[in-house]
Symmetry: C2
């Protein structure tokens, strides 16, 4: 195998596929990147949960393939001068890497034994854009469960029907839901993607409206960005009926500046030490003032936020982290907070778009 290619393109491709290189694995070959020179140059990594393939332009002088340790290869290419990289592999899997005045020789591994890139029939298709899916992941991934006893909750439910794409995550204490319209009203999809994989995928998606095609079969999902393709394993099992748990009637509602609410909760939470991580903050809604307080062994804190309160007075307690994490992913200037009762679920909604809904349960007094 012999080829030349630009340093920057190669660095970008390595950084992308490296997201599917496991940090520890009993199968040493998976710590490598498969490099295949054929019509163009293809880099692939695969940790058997997530597989990523990147195609880049290269001047192929002799076809072939090799597996090179991902970490070492990435370090060498990144430290090379900004110029054309020349790579040559001989029969004994010796890899020569040359760039201007610099030359490396390292050992490669035969590509035999490297897992095939999973193939998916391109039937069940969903067409959307990279920035939308990136944003939908960002607004739901933080609420996936870490409890391996209920595996489906460690993933994000991705559902498409009636022209709406929906992402849902839930860890039993709170639920995040994000909707977005899709052009094709016939598109149908219902899969659960492991949160860990989705997190890596969100780092690969860019923030442009570049086309993104998604295909699924029973076990796998393919995100096709053109030169980059990502396949993730799906989680088996049924997701619970999330529509049924969101209340429709509310006792008390407020509309409030998002930044002020977030900063106020963060402020009073300072008195909750790490040892008391589940300690609640108290919210009192009364006389058009939202008063947030906490009272711990360290001391007590109080913030008063004037706000128009619709409905009954209310006093309710929350895990502050669950509030803060939701507010962090909302970009609107104002949010709506809806309280069903002082023991029932509370909803945080973005106002500009009705597309993000977050539900959290209060803590008992």
């Amino acid at each position: 195998m012999i080829f030349n290619c630009g340093k920057e393109e190669l660095v970008n491709a390595i950084s992308t596929v490296q997201k599917a290189v496991p940090s520890k694995t009993p199968m040493q070959i998976l710590e490598g990147i498969l490099i295949k020179a054929d019509e163009n140059l293809k880099l692939t990594a695969n940790d058997l949960e997530l597989a990523i393939e990147c195609s880049i332009n290269a001047e192929i002088k002799e076809k072939g393939d090799i597996v090179i340790d991902a970490k070492l290869f990435g370090e060498i290419i990144r430290k090379m001068p900004d110029s054309i990289i020349h790579i040559e592999v001989d029969q004994e899997n010796n890899v020569k890497i040359e760039c201007k005045n610099s030359r490396f020789q390292i050992k490669g591994i035969s590509s035999e034994g490297f897992p095939d890139f999973p193939s998916i029939e391109r039937n069940n298709q969903l067409k959307t854009s990279q920035c939308i899916v990136r944003d939908m992941i960002r607004q739901t991934i933080f609420a996936v469960s870490e409890d391996e006893n209920r595996p489906v909750l460690t993933g994000v439910l991705v559902e498409c029907r009636n022209g709406t794409l929906t992402f849902v995550s839930c860890d039993s204490y709170r639920l995040a839901l994000r909707k977005h319209p899709v052009e094709d009203s016939e598109a149908q999809m219902k899969v659960i993607i492991p949160g860990k994989n989705l997190n890596e995928i969100s780092k690969i998606l860019n923030s442009t409206e570049d086309e993104l095609n998604v295909y699924t079969n029973q076990n796998l999902i393919l995100f096709d960005m053109g030169d980059t393709k990502v396949v993730s394993r799906l989680l088996e099992g049924e997701y619970f009926r999330y529509e049924n748990v969101i209340p429709e009637e509310y006792e008390t509602t407020i509309r409030i500046n998002k930044k002020e609410l977030q900063e106020s909760i963060e402020r009073v939470s300072l008195l909750i030490s790490n040892e008391e991580a589940r300690y609640p903050i108290n919210m009192l809604l009364k006389m058009d003032i939202l008063t947030i307080t906490t009272n711990t062994q360290i001391g007590n804190a109080k913030v008063e936020l004037p706000t128009e309160i619709n409905g009954n007075d209310m006093e309710i307690r929350f895990n502050p982290r669950y509030f803060i994490e939701a507010l962090k992913v909302i970009e609107d200037e104002e949010v709506e907070v809806l309280f069903s009762s002082d023991v029932g679920p509370c909803i945080i909604k973005s106002i500009d778009k009705e597309s993000f809904i977050y539900m959290l349960l209060p803590l008992r007094k």
Copy 2:
């Protein structure tokens, strides 16, 4: 004690004095900041090795003093709205902190038992500027020894005589030396400052030519920046005669682009794994080419740098880290490298100013 002061000024003062708050100490009071309201407001921290005092403007309504846990106080003030902070302490050491719509109450500690800020007679004075001392620390601190068996080498020698201020550090394998002229040719000083303390001091010094007055007595050194004063303990003992170890004659010398040399050494060092951290790189000077190579279990690497070589051909081996760390603190475009012999010390010199000299020993073949 009652006072009002601006949030930003208070945050800056806390961040400054926090550098003298120990992360772990059996004396709980040292984890606090002493706040003293008198003519102005003074914040002090003191870990018995390093003491920092910051004075800021405040509207003092009632004089007094209190010690508040540094971490908690810093967090609370940083998270307050950007406005005037009001602080009130009662007879039972309850500390009320108020700012706009937010109020905290925490427990303070009586200032009894908090160590006094060390006093130094202002006799032995050296006048210089903050940016110069900051730069002199930066260019020497990286070469201090970590070996507690030779305590003086864990500090930086600071010497002033004949109108020249000199900083010297050495860890037995290499030596860094930085000189700078001072206006007062009568100024005399010879002290060894613990590297750890000097590192914190360099973070407090700003990068302007603001005046810096330095005073010493037998055990202590005071850096007086006006509103901020820092006192460090000195190391006892005699520093070795560093002037005598720097060779005066060289077999081979080169003048080379600093960035290219640094990047080339970093590049070939990639093949040195963490387990072989003391593995050398090889430098061959011949035919006006500097060839840097390494040959390890991982593979081999070679970089060729055309450069005018004055003197004999030479082949010599170094610990690459010792080369890289020195090149990192040099800002000149070119450096001079002087080789005394293939077993004797090598010197790296900045060219624009003759002020920085670095000596390192080669590794045996």
